[in-house]
């Protein structure tokens, strides 16, 4: 008699619990604080390519260290480094757009999941080569001589970070954080990244910056929201 109700009951319970946990899922807000004085940006010499120079009548500055008005650091890659071992996450089919525009990479720092397509575009009326230098996946160096050209590439193994550069325009550098889970982000104008829907558990969050390197922090996710502050200093 009991058995007739046991399985549906269990299913219901599971659905309820799942719903419950997702409804209560906490948000981890990761912030990249910056203290001290940022190094003065160098004015880049664009004479090597007249077309680049034309696109930046006021000149182009180096963008290695960008500090927001609220005292946070831009272009910091944040991701869950450990705590998700054994879990498998599907890679999205939608590509990450990685554009070359105004002799500059947009975005300069981005995250991408393993095997997720990266659509590389050339929106410039000049010639670029895209040279990615991963250590774990295979390197590539692509010529993109024509405006409007698109190429799609993937990275097979996780790696933080993969450097991407253009040898034609020696100032052009970008970094891709290749990860195996969907919990990552890059700080922008607010200097924060929200890691949503992390199941309860203990995690290690890592932050990476082109100039200031990496930092780690432990966080325990339960039912309340969490805040993690990374402190970068000049």
């Amino acid at each position: 008699m009991k058995n007739r109700f046991f399985l549906p009951f269990l299913t219901l319970l599971a659905v309820f619990l799942a719903f419950q946990s997702s409804a209560d899922a906490s948000v981890v807000t990761v912030k990249a604080d910056f203290s001290g004085t940022a190094p003065a940006a160098d004015k880049l010499k664009l004479d090597a390519d007249p077309k680049c120079k034309m696109m930046h009548a006021d000149g182009l500055m180096s963008d290695e260290v960008l500090v927001n008005p609220n005292g946070t650091l831009k272009n910091v890659f944040i991701y869950v480094k450990s705590g998700l071992e054994g879990k498998k996450f599907d890679s999205p089919k939608t590509p990450v757009i990685f554009d070359q525009i105004g002799c500059h990479y947009t975005p300069k720092v981005f995250g991408v999941m393993v095997n997720q397509p990266v659509e590389i575009r050339n929106s410039d009326d000049t010639l670029h080569n895209v040279h990615a230098l991963p250590a774990n996946s295979s390197q590539f160096n692509l010529g993109m001589p024509i405006k409007g050209m698109k190429l799609t590439k993937t990275f097979a193994k996780p790696e933080v970070m993969v450097k991407i550069k253009c040898e034609v325009h020696s100032w052009m550098k970008a970094y891709a954080g290749v990860v195996s889970n969907p919990f990552y982000g890059v700080t922008s104008d607010e200097g924060t990244v929200m890691l949503k829907d992390l199941p309860p558990g203990d995690y290690v969050i890592e932050s990476w910056h082109e100039k200031y390197g990496t930092q780690e922090q432990k966080v325990t996710v339960s039912d309340s929201d969490q805040a993690v502050d990374f402190k970068f200093s000049a």
Partner: protein, 586 residues
């Protein structure tokens, strides 16, 4: 043709100038390649051999450096092909022709390595190889220019005090600079800077070498014509290289990397690399030149002093004496071999043998100087002072005698003294007085065997005397033949040899026959004395008969085979000894 013949080889001005031109073009190529590395534009063109699918891509950014490098490289490749054809067509020396073919192979290999850097995205080993091969190719072209130069063909030679030392110093310098090239390429092309320590250490070694070598060569007044200017050039290059190296270090390691390569940094690192190529080429050319143009003023005193003292002891003759001593030692006694005693006996005899040979050379220094065969001995040639030879000989002889007395036995020591007296005080002076010296010499020659016997048994039984007699009589035909071989020398020396009043060799031939027949019964004595058995008797009879027959033949053929007879006599003795030893052991 602006050519003329020098030392049998045509100086080909056009070939020489063209070699210089290709070498200079290669230096330009090295600069262009250096700029590619310094600006980091190695991969600004992703395809090879075309650039973005074109012969001429838009010259922007890194492509300006990479494509210029490719264009110059292609030009140098074509120039090298022409150069090789030119060499194959008009060069006479096969080895120079071959070198030009090697150059062609190198430039092709270099192009393929260049392609590999592009296709495989600058893997460290390929980048390092490309850098090293490029400079090696430049060195080879410089050498081709050297080998076709007027000076090389004229081959002016300068006698300097220590040519060997200078040449070796140059050679090690070249070696270290080649090593430095590899370390430099590692620092430049790989991420980890462990190579930097080696690069610094090698730089120091090279600097020390150059500091040593420059004054050493420049003080040779004569050689300045050839060496002064290149050496001054080398010194300037090395001095500037230190500053360029330090500058590169500051820019690349000390200072934080810039958003894009700084102009000063690019110029500094490229200049450092190109200057390195020049240093390598100049040093290699100087090294090769030093081997061609420098000869020793006289024999290197330091390097041959030890050799002179060794040759004073007549090492080969001393070894023969030791063999004879060993024979006596082996034939004496039974049971297991006392190896320590054998060692002491041999060492004592070696000291005595070496010592009396030195004393003999001291005493005969004036006669030796007159004979072609011996004029180059250490004392007559003037390399060693006569007194030094005398002291050396005395010390060795005295130590040897005392050693025999102390570590073997008194009888052996006494026989050692007897050997010294018979050889130094009887045989050597008698050589200038009477032709009977041969007999005294034969006594001295046979004594070491007895010393060996006595050292082991401390007694002189019949067996020892028998061997002594065989050795004594064997020396007669042996030395008569030797005297004939060196007859001309001996005649001019004033030594009283038995061959002296014997223009056609009849008398000497007869003496050889008679002494060979005389030797025969003595070779049979061991059977009687119990130290030879069946094997020995058979060997002695057969070999003895053959030896007498050979002596007769020598006489019939008027001594033409005297030299062969000397060797034959040695084989005869060897057979007797081996048979004797075999009979004892078996």
């Amino acid at each position: 043709m602006g050519g003329f013949i020098l030392r049998g080889f045509m100086f080909n001005q056009r070939l020489h100038f063209f070699s210089c031109f290709v070498a200079a073009s290669t230096l330009v190529l090295i600069i262009a390649g250096g700029l590619v590395t310094s600006t980091g534009s190695g991969l600004s063109v992703p395809d090879w051999p075309l650039s973005y699918g074109q012969f001429f891509p838009p010259m922007i950014g890194g492509i300006r450096f990479e494509h210029t490098h490719r264009v110059i490289a292609a030009t140098v490749g074509i120039l090298t092909l022409i150069l090789t054809c030119f060499f194959l067509y008009s060069e006479k020396r096969v080895w120079v022709k071959s070198l030009s073919v090697v150059a062609l192979f190198m430039v092709v290999a270099q192009a393929l390595l260049g392609a590999a850097t592009v296709i495989y995205l600058l893997p460290d080993p390929i980048s390092v190889s490309h850098a090293c091969l490029g400079q090696t190719f430049f060195v080879l072209l410089c050498l081709l220019a050297l080998f076709t130069s007027r000076q090389w063909l004229q081959k002016p030679t300068f006698a300097v005090k220590r040519a060997g030392t200078i040449q070796r110093l140059f050679l090690t310098t070249t070696f270290f600079i080649f090593l430095q090239l590899i370390f430099g390429a590692m620092v430049r092309h790989t991420e980890d800077h462990r190579g930097l320590n080696y690069h610094f250490a090698t730089a120091f070694l090279i600097l020390v070498h150059v500091i040593f070598i420059v004054p050493k060569v420049t003080k040779e007044k004569e050689a300045q014509v050839v060496f002064l200017k290149p050496l001054m050039f080398l010194a300037t290059l090395v001095a500037s290289q230190i500053f360029l190296g330090l500058g590169s270090y500051i820019y690349k390691i000390v200072m934080a990397p810039a958003a894009m390569p700084r102009t000063a940094e690019v110029l500094m690192t490229t200049a450092h690399q190109t200057n390195g190529a020049l240093i390598l080429a100049v040093t290699t050319v100087l090294t090769v030149s030093s081997f061609r143009y420098l000869t020793n003023l006289k024999k290197d005193k330091t390097t041959s002093l030890v050799g002179d003292y060794i040759s004073l002891t007549k090492p080969r003759l001393t070894l023969l004496v030791l063999a004879s001593t060993s024979l006596g030692f082996l034939m004496a006694g039974t049971g297991s071999l006392p190896t320590a005693l054998l060692f002491h006996t041999l060492l004592g005899c070696a000291l005595i043998g070496g010592g009396i040979n030195a004393l003999n050379q001291y005493l005969e220094r004036f006669i030796d100087a007159k004979m072609k065969r011996t004029a180059n001995r250490p004392i007559p040639s003037g390399r060693l002072e006569a007194q030094h030879g005398l002291i050396f000989g005395c010390i060795l002889t005295i130590i040897g005698v005392v050693y025999l007395f102390a570590l073997t036995n008194a009888l052996a020591g006494f026989l050692g003294v007897l050997t010294v007296i018979s050889y130094v005080f009887l045989y050597t002076p008698l050589k200038q007085k009477t032709s009977l010296n041969t007999f005294v010499g034969a006594v001295a020659g046979a004594l070491p065997c007895i010393i060996g016997w006595v050292a082991r048994e401390n007694a002189l039984p019949v067996g020892a005397w028998v061997i002594f007699l065989i050795l004594f009589f064997w020396q007669l035909p042996h030395f008569f033949a030797i005297a004939w071989v060196y007859k001309e020398d001996y005649d001019g020396s004033g030594l009283k040899m038995l061959t002296r009043q014997d223009p056609d060799g009849r008398a000497t031939g007869l003496k050889i026959i008679l002494s060979s027949i005389l030797l025969f019964p003595f070779t049979l004595l061991p059977v009687w004395a119990g130290i030879g058995q069946q094997l020995y008797s058979v060997a002695a009879i057969l070999a003895g008969t053959f030896f007498i027959f050979a002596a007769l033949l020598l006489y019939r053929r008027r001594m033409v085979h005297a030299k062969k007879f000397v060797s034959l006599s040695i084989y005869y003795l060897l057979i007797l000894i081996l048979a004797m030893v075999a009979d004892k052991i078996l």
